[in-house]
Amino acid sequence: MSNRKSKNNNLIHAECLLQVQRTLRERFCHQSPHGNLFGIQVQYKHLIELLKRTAIYGESNSVLIIGPRGSGKTLLINHALKELMEIEVSENVLQVHLNGLLQINDKIALKEITRQLNLENVVGDKVFGSFAENLSFLLDALRKVPIVEDLISFDYGNCFNFLWTFGDRISSCPVIFVLDEFDLFVHHKNQTLLYNLFDISQSAQTPVAVIGLTCRLDILELLEKRVKSRFSHRQIHLMNSFGFPQYIKIFKEQLSLPAEFPDKLFAEKWNENVQRLSEDRSVQEVLQKQFNVSKNLRSLHMLLMLALHRITASHPFMTSADLMEANQLCSMDSKANIVHGLSVLEICLIIAMKHLNDIYEEEPFNFQMVYNGF
């Protein structure tokens, strides 16, 4: 009788655990946009204000979000955009997401913008003289919301002045350009894309908001003079400025199950366990070590993910041993590992090389010299 009960328990447990794994994995690996914002409330307010001004009042803006890797830039912008879209006035706001890793030159970038604005059929086979013309054409096309796609005689060179004969609204759609890995766009030829985007944000044609995300603090020095002058020099810095007690709080929050979890009883037990863990001495030591190495949340997520994958039906609650093991996995010295695997002969050769290096102070050597030393 008790056997069946425990088996039932086990089944329920297994179900729960799968659910737990699923929720937490999504949180750690997938960076779901439902995450909380820790310590960046001020920056968030700033950003959302800016975006609202573009969407509602038609003001053009540009801003750079700067912060080291893993400090939450993408999270911030995604959160802000999500909130923006929920406001009813912003139903005609268009978003264009560009990434420096994907769009490696301005031609590809322009094609991508066309594609994301769904203007491919409008542009068709037109040939444009310059980048600027192309971009203004696209933005003009948004000025009057198109209902019919065909155009009356089009003249190359008159792309600024063509008129829609069928058009309902005359208002322009605000466009939000999000440029990820902004520092890679800076290396394009003549920085044409950036120049044009900032130019448009300064002139009053269409309300655009240009938001750049980058990890380089010296990004302004990389911009050309003409681009820099058109940029509004607005910067939002995300500097991971929380202390260790806050770090522990973040750890607790990240590991706890949300209130919407189906099995309330299990969630409560889990959260209690998490509370106990956060007060445990050894866990705090592990967290302190991690905090000293890198403050950002990404490394914390990796640690938690490694501890998470040990959770099975027979080991349903996380223990401090799990976390310590995870920490060890994270902080392995890879060079020491590799040297461990070499044969004796290879190690002798490496010793000869190091010897040569020390004697001659960094002069190049070749195999003959090493063999001689050997």
Partner: protein, 434 residues
């Protein structure tokens, strides 16, 4: 399919880590995993076997084959579309840039069968990715974020992660180490492929002996397997001939030991090929000196060619400023300060031959040959034939007819042998032996 533990030996910890990381099919996993370890430590084998056994949708690409970006991206996309194509063959996909790749990837993975599961992309020999476009490695590390799909990219490499990291940082993958096999593990794995005619114990004893000889030199599993396969027939010989039983370990050891030592000098260093080795074993006579690659006997050359070769050697291994001292009859006073060697210990011989122009070669040649030598076409054609024989090598473009540069590629022993045949004391003229 036999259970995983029987197919993959001595890697239980890594397999269990990977399995628990993968989780259930629909779970999210790390966006990128980096696996590193020595050669033949089982990275490719374990990953492939694991993915195949668990039947997870995966694409396996070896980066050595992909010399251009397009090859790599198209291979991945084609294999992926092949995964979910239940009917016939779909058309080949064309993909030129990483941007298109992301777009097409999103399209392909919206198919029902792939939408809910994690798709794995395995990139073997990932160190070649560093030499391709700069956006490729960071792009693949973030592929989950860029495509907004459930995908995990696994990188396999022998080089540690610290050498991969781009300058401005990137999305850090989870780094997993495949430790090298210990001697016990090696024994276990090597004994696994024993031929069925002999007992497992017999083969295990043989492997023991083999490891004892080769372990300090080589830990590479592939090499050891090759050596084991090559030398086993010799080991079995006494048993086959009936001189010893399977258990007479001492006799077998005495028989095989010199053989293995010889093998280390020759087959392991690839001085002679494996087929030569096998032939040698069959002959069973003491071959005396094995004609390996590094001991080729000297070639018979005509008289002037020998001098040309000697002159070339002197030109290669003596610095140009010392020519005056060696080759002029009256060289006057040479200041001592010019003469101090820059670094006492780096002799020119260790640094390798240097290149010299043709004029210098002829100048040295005329000074060392006693009788008068006319610069006939004969001399020049002899120089060219030396180049064909690969005793000299041409440096730079071979279109330069007016100022070709050469380099001498023979060893000191060789040139001494040649010099002896023409009664020329080469050591007197070498800067390193001053």
């Amino acid at each position: 399919m036999p259970p995983l533990e029987h197919v993959v030996l001595c890697r239980e910890a890594q397999v269990s880590t990977l399995q628990s990381l993968f989780g259930e099919r629909h779970h999210f996993s790390f966006p990128s995993i980096f696996i590193y370890g020595h050669t033949a430590s089982g990275k490719t084998y374990v990953t492939q076997t694991l993915l195949k056994t668990l039947e997870l949708p995966h694409v396996f690409v070896n980066c050595v084959e992909c010399v251009t970006l397009r090859l790599l991206l198209e291979q991945i996309l084609n294999k992926l579309s092949y995964l979910n194509a239940s009917e016939g063959c779909s058309t080949e996909i064309i993909c030129e840039t990483f941007n298109d790749f992301v777009r097409l990837f999103k399209q392909i993975t919206t198919v029902e069968s792939l939408k809910t599961q994690t798709v794995y992309i395995v990139l073997d020999k990932a160190e070649y990715l560093r030499d391709m476009e700069a956006n490729l490695l960071p792009g693949f590390l973030r592929l989950q974020e860029l495509t907004d799909r459930n995908v995990t990219v696994i990188f396999l490499s022998e080089i540690i992660w610290e050498k991969f990291r781009p300058n401005t940082g990137c999305f850090e993958p989870f780094v997993l180490y495949f430790p090298d096999y210990s001697i016990g593990n090696l024994q276990k794995i090597l004994s696994h492929d024993h031929p069925p005619e002999y007992s497992a114990d017999f083969y295990a004893a043989y492997i023991n002996i083999l490891l004892g000889v080769f372990y300090t030199v080589c830990r590479d599993l592939k090499e050891l397997r090759h050596l084991a396969a090559l030398n086993f027939p010799k080991y079995c010989e006494p048993v086959v001939k009936g001189e010893a039983g399977e258990r007479d370990t001492r006799k077998l050891w005495r028989n095989i030991e010199p053989h293995l030592k010889k093998a280390m000098q020759t087959v392991y260093l690839r001085e002679i090929s494996s087929s030569q080795w096998e032939k040698l074993q069959k002959e069973d006579t003491d071959p005396g000196q094995l004609k390996g690659l590094s001991a080729y006997t000297h070639v018979e050359l005509p008289y002037y060619s020998k001098f040309i070769l000697i002159a070339a050697y002197l030109a290669s291994y003596n610095p140009a400023r010392t020519d005056k001292r060696f080759f002029l009859k009256h060289h006057g006073k040479i200041k001592k300060t010019n003469f101090l060697k820059k670094h006492e210990k780096t002799s020119n011989h260790l640094l390798g031959p240097k290149s010299f122009p043709l004029d210098r070669l002829l100048a040295i040649l005329y000074s060392i040959v006693d009788s008068r030598v006319a610069p006939t076409a004969n001399i020049f054609s002899q120089i060219t034939s030396l180049v064909t024989l690969q005793l000299l090598s041409l440096v730079g473009h071979d279109d330069q007819l007016d100022g070709p540069k050469y380099k001498c590629t023979v060893s000191l022993d060789f040139i001494r042998a040649i010099a002896r045949t023409v009664n020329f004391d080469i050591i007197k003229y070498l800067y390193d032996f001053l």
